[in-house]
């Protein structure tokens, strides 16, 4: 990409990889529900959502690859675990607990909508063009998951108890989504990633708390400040390596195969 200044390339690739990696593993975790959804409609929904997330990841990998010359497949499957930039919340298994699957999507989907919105305002046209499309699709995800938060949070005493339990268990991982990335300021200053993380954090907590309120659910953990667990720097949970192993099995047999 000739129109990108040299010093901005690496940070931008890093930012795109963080976004793509979050989507790739969230999509993979959700694809595990295919055939096992609690009702037919949600079986279809989770399969479609997973397909969307994988497609979004692929498009973002392609964009990152257009900057540094790697292929989307290579970026998705050809890295070692410490080279991934995803947050822990997309790595942990949900143990096929529906409440956990919904709550995970809830925190991630709202974050992704805000991140993609910032992408859609980027001064780098290939990114803003793509992100405008992704935002429209992401809104469908947010509506779907908000709907389930309210339904289950206000459903029966048992559904409420299980949703609150899932929030207490997986919720604390959500703030790591905001862990600062290397050299992000240079991208913000250049207008490639306009806005600020602080504003985005406020918008996210506002959106999340708004829906939780409607769902009669609460967060018991400290939602007020980003966590620094290390996912954005390549420090991951024990769950990433085996998941990657499973996802890459076919790719590694013949990396140059045409699909």
């Amino acid at each position: 990409m000739p129109d990108l200044p040299e010093h901005l390339r690496k940070p931008l690739v890093n930012l795109l990889l963080a976004a793509a990696d979050d989507k790739l593993f969230l999509g993979h975790r959700n694809s595990e529900w295919t055939g096992l959804g609690p009702i037919l409609e949600e079986d279809i929904a989770f399969s479609s959502l997973a397909q969307d997330d994988m497609a979004h990841a692929a498009a973002l990998y392609e964009l990152a690859g257009s900057i540094d010359g790697r292929s989307a497949d290579e970026l998705a499957f050809g890295r070692t675990p410490e080279q991934y930039r995803c947050a822990a919340i997309v790595e942990v298994p949900d143990e096929f607990d529906w409440a956990t699957a919904i709550v995970r999507r809830f925190f991630c989907n709202h974050f992704d909508l805000l991140r993609l919105t910032r992408f859609s305002q980027s001064a780098w046209k290939p990114l803003s063009d793509l992100a405008r499309r992704l935002v429209a699709e992401q809104q469908v995800h947010v509506q779907h998951v908000d709907d389930w938060m309210v339904r289950l949070g206000t459903g029966t005493p048992e559904s409420h108890r299980r949703m609150q339990g899932a929030i207490d268990a997986i919720g604390p991982l959500a703030t790591e989504l905001f862990e600062p990335l290397d050299e992000l300021k240079s991208l913000v200053d250049a207008g490639l990633y306009p806005g600020s993380d602080f504003t985005m954090y406020d918008q996210w907590t506002g959106a999340v708390q708004h829906v939780l309120g409607q769902s009669h659910l609460t967060v018991q953990f400290d939602i007020g400040s980003p966590d620094d667990r290390g996912g954005r720097r390549g420090v991951h949970t024990q769950y990433l390596a085996p998941m990657l192993e499973e996802m890459c099995e076919v790719y590694r047999l013949e990396p140059r195969a045409a699909w």
Partner: protein, 170 residues
Amino acid sequence: MMINRQAIFDVLRSIPDPEMPISIVDLGLIESVDVSGSAINVVALPTFVGCPALEMISRDIEMRLGRLPGVASVNVRWVNDPPWSVQRITDAGRAALREHGVTVPETGSRLEVHGAAGATVPLTVGAAAVPCPFCGSTKTHLDSPFGPTRCRMIYYCDACRNSFEHLKNV
């Protein structure tokens, strides 16, 4: 020999979308066609990012336009600017879709993001009444916000008891 633009569009109008019973022109996928010498360059818009049908559509376009007399090469490029939206579907396309039990949202595109995500109101996906394509009744409800392809949802008509598909408003 000059390549006839009318002939190109006739060919494009004869190519059906792999997942929808209308042509790729009526679906609004074709943004521009440029002829230079014996080469045809087609710019097309994906309905959904990474739609699995894109490669198939590219192949169809290349193969069928390649058969026109005087054509040496056909190139298909997918772009996101302008973004595709349901607004691009032609009236003929809408009528044909309705006949096949698929309805298209009439309201404007939702591509604009309104402020913080906190402004998103839950339960709105199926809030607006969607008239049944078979009997016209508005006594319909959203059965599934996802459907057989990524761009469709499933509705049910409480009057004539048929299910039908509705395109997502993106």
